[in-house]
């Protein structure tokens, strides 16, 4: 087991860690001073060289995304995605509640790098404490001259405000979030054009996840070379893994990308409850394909999880022991996605409903062998055929479950 000294979750356990005084005591806003002495293009180059990829699920290279923002556009926006809703994921809520200034420092540096003078924080409506912490952090940052006009004498201006979501998973999708920020139903937009060119109010907009942003001050302080020395070939830096389910010590663990799943579960999260065996693992949040225990040695990185038949997603590891009813797990997960469908496009709205009906029939013991074929057909009809990635995400647990836990499905339909 490699010893890793956290660089992201260094402050969250301190008393009053959310206060600006505490953040400043622990070296806060020194990266901002350094960044403001650099040219914006230098910062973008540094973030590119670091190899940082987005931590919200898609894993897009962050520096490349920043470079997509047109340099000559007169108005540009930054939107902070605090809409953490992927089941199994609880890292962004921790950071917002316990270390909001670390996000804000990343926000200011990112805005300076792309030339945005207005940033919007979009936060899940359920995160009541998080909303309060964001508002307080922003107010204190204004008072200390980290926000507003002429930040730290640099001539750079930035205003930030907080928008509360109101209970819609789909608003974590960047174009749905933009719609919601503009005050509408959170229905995804067609891509392209991507938000980097046409985002909020038609202006170039950088949308960035909370965990991604807290990596920025670290990269600026320690340099891209140091950052890129952590992790694997295609997955650089530290990652916060949210471990939950049947483990003895659930929680957020910051470890280098590439740390084996087995090490995360057994050495950090204390192993499986009551000494039981692992049966299944959701490695990256509810929309990532479910793995069997034979994949426990997979390194937790973008490329290795893809090769293992799943995805890193948000890094939310849900562990299920040998007593788990996989049909019920998949029925519940599907029920979540069907509830959260924005209902705009047919494959997701109707296909999802039929997936759930079929799974409910199987779970209740009244399904036939034909229902297993129906699930596969429905998943083929939904996956890749929806307006946004949610349709595909909805099918991942079903198709991976049918393939990898087939015996449980078969025993359920033949046992009636």
């Amino acid at each position: 087991m490699s010893a890793w000294t956290p660089v992201l979750l260094t402050r969250v356990n301190h008393p009053n860690s959310e206060k600006i005084s505490s953040y400043l005591e622990h070296g806060g806003y020194t990266a901002l001073r350094k960044a403001l002495s650099m040219a914006p293009s230098q910062i973008i180059a540094e973030v590119k060289a670091s190899g940082l990829r987005g931590r919200g699920g898609a894993g897009f290279p962050t520096g490349v995304k920043w470079d997509f923002i047109p340099k000559d556009a007169p108005v540009k926006y930054l939107a902070v995605n605090t809409d953490e809703g992927e089941p199994g994921t609880f890292k962004d809520r921790l950071i917002v509640e316990r270390d909001p200034h670390a996000i804000l420092e990343g926000v200011i540096i990112a805005a300076y790098a792309i030339g945005a003078h207005r940033a919007f924080v979009y936060i899940r409506g359920e995160f009541f404490l998080g909303v309060k912490r964001w508002i307080k952090a922003i107010a204190d940052a204004y008072q200390h001259g980290f926000l507003g006009k002429n930040i730290l004498g640099s001539g750079f201006d930035l205003d930030v405000s907080v928008h509360r979501g109101a209970g819609a998973y789909i608003c974590g999708e960047e174009t749905a979030m933009i719609e919601s920020l503009e005050g509408r139903r959170g229905e995804p937009r067609r891509k392209p054009p991507y938000p980097a060119n046409v985002g909020l109010w038609g202006q170039p907009t950088l949308v960035q996840n909370v965990e991604t942003l807290v990596n920025i001050p670290v990269i600026v302080s320690r340099g891209a070379a140091w950052y890129a020395s952590i992790g694997t070939e295609q997955s650089k830096g530290p990652k916060i893994f949210c471990v939950s389910g049947h483990v003895n010590r659930p929680g957020n663990y910051e470890l280098p990308l590439g740390t084996p799943l087995r090490e995360i579960i057994y050495e950090h999260a204390g192993g499986v409850r009551m000494g039981r065996q692992v049966k299944a693992i959701v490695p990256g949040g509810a929309s990532t394909p479910i793995l069997r225990a034979d994949k426990l040695d997979v390194p937790m990185a973008f490329e290795t999880l893809q090769a293992a038949g799943s995805a890193l997603g948000t890094g939310a590891v849900i562990v299920m022991d040998e007593t788990t009813d996989m049909v019920e797990v998949i029925r519940r997960t599907t029920s979540f996605f069907v509830h959260e469908s924005c209902s705009r496009c047919t494959p997701c709205r109707l296909g999802g409903r039929r997936l759930l009906d079929t799974l409910e029939r199987i779970a209740a013991g009244s399904g036939g062998a034909r229902d297993l074929v129906r699930l596969e057909e429905l998943a083929r009809g939904i996956s890749g055929n929806t307006f946004c990635p949610m349709g595909t995400g909805m099918c991942e647990p079903v198709t991976s479950g049918l393939e990898r836990f087939r015996d449980e499905f078969e025993s359920r339909v033949t046992a009636r």
Binding site: A166, S244, F336
Partner: protein, 158 residues
Amino acid sequence: MKEPGELRTPVGSAISDPEKESMALSALYIAQEQHGKLTPEIIERVAQRMGMQPGEVFSIASFYTLFRTRPAGRFIIQVCDGLSCYLCDGADRIAEYVGAKLNLKPGETSADGRFSLEMVQCLASCGTAPAMRVNDQLYENLTPAGIDAIIERLLGEV
């Protein structure tokens, strides 16, 4: 420079957003806080203040689960129905336990209007499962004894 306090200003001249419509969700939150639920009359008033059509505002309100067009209890108990809570003996089991104490099923409000019981999507408390919310307060690592204490306190508050 705008005063930080104005960041919370929802409707009115101090809006710093490029378009007033972006305050629709904030306006609905305020209306709901003041009136408990978003009746057609309330929606109409919000629409007037925002310079929007009532239908537009209703369409927005109906999209988001935290906006209520029907009455709810003074204490809204929202039990997390997430996968991790289910795996940690939460979700349905918590709902059954709370429901038995208050004689309620998920989706119901008590006749005296004190309590509503609901199942909600993942509350991002998977590391501290099982979890539930009562109004804006989050409760984690729930146990039967812990729930007993919470309910007892709520009963005393009424």
